[in-house]
């Protein structure tokens, strides 16, 4: 676990709209290591989905544009690959599942057709062999009677089952990295838990890495090894999940944790972060969070200077002028190889207290 599987390096993505250029992803850097789960957390509009889609170069080139930056996967810069090679990566080396299982499957083809299509494309199999692989994939995601399901159409399945099908389709070619863009947001709570557990199990069995996009801190707590918090197109915090939940450094993350209702706490009013998320069409100058920041206290530095992501503690990156020792902290690559311990015995004693 020394070389990252995926390394996004200062990615900048822009869109040309009728009202000018919009810059939803700015200097974003993050890494995922083999077998690791990186959670990318943020509100709607923070650029996490655009980042995820950029890995597979799924952003349509007009109106989108990759301004600068690199996306290294197994040593190759994906942004520079010719399209034909990129297609070989998609579905085979890196797979992606999306938020809406209802509409993410083609309604006029059977489940079997759609899974087998991926298999035929990437694994050089034909006919029955491909469908056998598809059936096996369905079985692995826990769908009962997979043989019959192969012949069914998407509208005949429930939401949870459709998402399982999506996972089966994504994993049918044994990718090294799975990008999951809010896979459970559109599902019920109980199904959510099942799907996430399924992902964890598959990760254990196959050793694949997962890049999990979510806006739900609970999902992060249960599934992530490392976390990257995004706000207004930038990564504002990156650390292990334990460190983040223990003591968040960035005021935005702090605000998020404060606003989570706690069981047993006796409050009459929930806390909020004042203000609203800025529109990508006009981000504020300087630190993007400063209009809402409780730490700012009129500091002109925050208004003028957009803080870079610095390593403020060992293996902990954050971007805020008002963190202790921020100005002297080095700017290093946010590469964090960390896997949460599986069993209690692996957790260091001091954490358990």
């Amino acid at each position: 676990m020394n070389e990252p599987l995926l390394h996004i390096d200062k990615l900048n993505v822009a869109f040309s709209t009728s009202r000018g250029q919009v810059h939803p992803v700015r200097d974003v850097s993050m890494s995922v290591y083999p077998g690791q789960t990186l959670a990318v957390v943020g509100e709607s509009g923070c650029g996490k989905s655009v980042t995820a889609m950029s890995v597979l170069r799924l952003i349509p080139q007009p109106p989108g544009k990759y301004l600068s930056g690199r996306i290294y996967f197994q040593g190759r810069d994906l942004l520079k690959l010719p399209e034909a090679d990129m297609r070989k990566v998609r579905g085979k080396e890196i797979a992606m599942i999306f938020q809406e299982p209802m509409t993410s499957l083609n309604p006029v083809y059977t489940i079997g057709d759609q899974i087998a299509e991926a298999v035929i494309l990437h694994q050089n199999l034909r006919g029955k062999a491909a469908y056998d692989v598809a059936e096996e994939a369905l079985r692995e995601v826990g769908i009962a009677d997979p043989g019959r399901r192969l012949r069914e159409y998407p509208h005949q399945l429930s939401g949870g089952m459709r998402q399982r099908v999506m996972i089966a389709m994504a994993l049918s070619c044994k990718p090294k990295l799975l990008i999951a863009d809010e896979p459970t947001t559109a599902l019920d709570v109980t199904i959510q838990a099942q799907i996430l557990e399924l992902l964890r199990k598959l990760q254990r069995e196959t050793g694949m890495a997962i890049m999990l996009i979510t806006h739900d801190l609970g999902v992060v707590a249960e599934n992530a090894d490392t976390v990257a918090v995004m706000y207004a197109g930038r990564v504002v915090e990156h650390s292990t999940v334990h460190d983040l939940f223990d003591k968040p450094q960035h005021p935005y993350t702090e605000g998020l944790f404060r606003s989570v209702p706690k069981l047993g706490a006796n409050v009459t009013r929930l806390e909020t972060i004042a203000g609203t998320v800025p529109n990508p069409k006009n981000f504020p100058k300087g630190c993007k969070f400063h209009p809402r920041c409780p730490r700012m206290a009129g500091d002109p530095l925050c208004v003028d200077d957009d803080p870079a992501l610095r390593e403020v503690q060992l293996r902990y990156w954050a971007a805020c002028h008002h963190i202790e020792g921020f100005a002297q902290a080095p700017i290093t690559e946010p590469q964090l190889a960390y896997k949460r311990p599986e069993t209690i015995s692996e957790i260091p004693a001091e954490v358990l207290q």
Partner: protein, 358 residues
């Protein structure tokens, strides 16, 4: 599927009855009522006591003095292929399978069904040739426009689609004949009609006779049909092209296309395998309206180009106030329209797996 079909056909019956009621109602509401022309034509020429007796004869024969409901039922019986045979004196005979009797055309003094039998094939050829043309050109140009979205090709096709669709058939027909079939201008096409003199005697395929090439029957027919078919179909394929483009573009933005791209499929496969089938669905939905609109268009095209089909027959019938003929044609037109609706529903049920069959 069978249950769906049966249910659909069952639902057709009230519509069919409705069409008959509509047609009958127009007949009854017309000046002169049912059989008015008959009475006026046949009975009106001879005066005096004979007129009275002839009137009575016709009234008895056709049940013209009974209440409207009974007359409607009699008329229904007449036009139905399965019904009671009507004897000479007007009484009812046995149930039998019989040829539908749509009345008799006053101006041409022949049964309406005979006239229809002669005219229908011409209209059918015209329409059946136009339909595939409309669909093929419409689909292809729609795909081209969608693939080149934003380019010169797309904008060009888009503007011309709307303009083409707006050109009235009456104008295009007149212009085409006026400029392309005219001795004074370009004389490429015949001025009308279905056949040239002598083509009926010629061989079916082009042949060499007496040292000269003779265009056979087939080529002659085709030559006569080119302008009418063009005139009939340009509106249709402009409309379909627009629809196809819109449908493809809508589908290209759908989530399942995003999934297909993430799977690593190339754009062509996505377009032709995934998007195309979904786009066709919206095309099938409008298919029900294509045939009635083409039939309507035939009316104009056949009149302008002098083709002896149902359309020309209707116009002649209307200008001569030949009521039986007009109503018979309306009824048959309605039947054809209904058939196309059923076909469309069946096709859609076959194409879209989301449609449940029961």
């Amino acid at each position: 599927m069978l249950t769906y079909l049966i249910r659909r056909i069952l639902l057709l019956i009230p519509t069919l009855l409705g069409i008959t009621i509509l047609v009958f109602g127009v007949m009854a509401a017309a000046p002169g009522g049912i059989g008015g022309p008959l009475l006026n034509e046949r009975g009106g020429q001879i005066g005096g006591a004979n007129q009275q007796r002839i009137r009575e004869y016709y009234e008895k024969r056709y049940g013209l003095n009974k209440p409207y409901a009974i007359q409607y039922l009699r008329w229904l019986n007449n036009i139905s292929p399965v019904g009671f045979r009507v004897n000479e004196d007007g009484s009812l005979g046995r149930i039998a399978v019989k040829w539908p009797d749509l009345g008799e055309s006053i101006t041409q003094r022949r049964p309406v069904s005979d006239l229809l039998k002669d005219a229908l094939p011409v209209t059918l050829i015209l329409n059946l040739v136009s339909i595939p043309l409309v669909y093929v050109i419409g689909i292809v140009s729609g795909i081209i426009a969608a693939r080149n979205r934003g380019n010169a090709a797309d904008v060009g096709i888009g503007t011309s689609q709307l303009a083409l669709w707006s050109i009235p058939t009456i104008w295009s027909g007149v212009l085409l004949i006026g400029f392309l079939a005219n001795r004074e201008y370009v004389n490429w096409f015949p001025t009308g009609g279905l056949t040239s003199v002598g083509s009926l005697d010629a061989s079916f395929l082009p042949s060499h006779v007496d040292g000269r090439w003779q265009a056979g029957f087939l080529v002659d027919r085709v030559w006569h049909l080119i302008l009418p078919v063009v005139c009939l179909s340009y509106g249709g394929f402009a409309f379909l092209s627009k629809l196809m483009r819109g449908s493809i573009l809508d589908n290209l933005g759908a989530d399942y296309v995003r999934t297909a791209r993430a799977k690593g499929l190339n754009e062509n496969v996505i377009l032709y395998r995934h998007v195309f089938r979904n786009s066709l669905l919206s095309l099938i939905t409008v298919a029900a309206a294509i045939l009635p609109s083409l039939l309507g268009g035939s009316i104009v095209v056949e009149t302008i180009f002098g083709l002896p089909g149902m359309g020309k027959l209707s116009v002649d019938a209307v200008s001569l106030r030949d009521r039986e003929l007009v109503l018979g044609l309306t009824f048959v037109g309605g039947l054809i329209g209904l058939t196309s609706m059923v076909l469309r529903d069946v096709l859609y049920a076959m194409a879209d797996p989301r449609v449940t069959y029961d």
